[in-house]
Assembly symmetry: C2
DNA sequence: GTTGATATATAGCAGCGCCACATATATACT
DNA sequence: AGTATATATGTGGCGCTGCTATATATCAAC
């Protein structure tokens, strides 16, 4: 997995709605047909980091007959950061393509 | 700049012909219109790493009236590694696109 | 003769993601 | 009742990658 992109992916997945850690991991693995997978153990520290940076906000949710879960959602700062990361991602891919002829198709 | 991609870029640039460190840095900066730039100081350690891993091979070249330069070229292992990295890069971009709707165009 | 471009080198550091391990609960199988 | 599996979160330690700062040396230009 491409280093440095994990954060961007997490933010993107939280864009639509709040999700909890385990859900994110499963989502990434299934949606990408196991091409991307990052280890659950990496995920939680990453979420803490994002929370510490103010990009996401976590909230404990407890339901009867279920384990407690921590749902994360994007903060305004998180949305802004995601937009910037999307932009620089596009710039990067374009530049890489030009430099090396690496195709994306 | 996307972490983990520097190595791939260097290998790709050495694919055609041998180049020296400073040339690589300038090439990356100019060809990408300064969108990608990595600092000269990062470059040399990276080249040593690639050499230690057997992916490139360095050779000192001395010419009268010029500073000595160290030209690096791809080894067979380097070519193989580049091919693999290109492949997984494509897989990654496709998966990312599917997961997040990130465009590359 | 000093500045700027060319060219290489090293020490130290922070972030990112991995691995191994740990904990706890609900469900399903046997 | 016992056990395995899936769900869900947490932690300590580690290695790689790339950055910053700094150093050295030569050539061209002014």
């Amino acid at each position: 997995m491409q280093k440095g992109s994990a954060e961007m992916i997490l933010l993107a997945l939280l864009e639509g709605r709040a999700r909890h850690g385990y859900e994110l991991a499963k989502l990434i693995e299934s949606q990408s047909e196991s091409h991307l997978q990052f280890h659950v153990a990496s995920l939680y520290p990453m979420l803490y980091r994002l929370e510490r940076k103010g990009l996401v906000e976590g909230k404990w949710v407890e339901k009867a007959g279920e384990r407690r879960k921590r749902y994360y959602k994007l903060t305004p700062a998180g949305k802004k950061s995601l937009a910037e990361q999307r932009k620089s991602w596009r710039v990067f891919v374009r530049a890489l393509n030009q430099l090396t002829g690496f195709s994306h198709a």
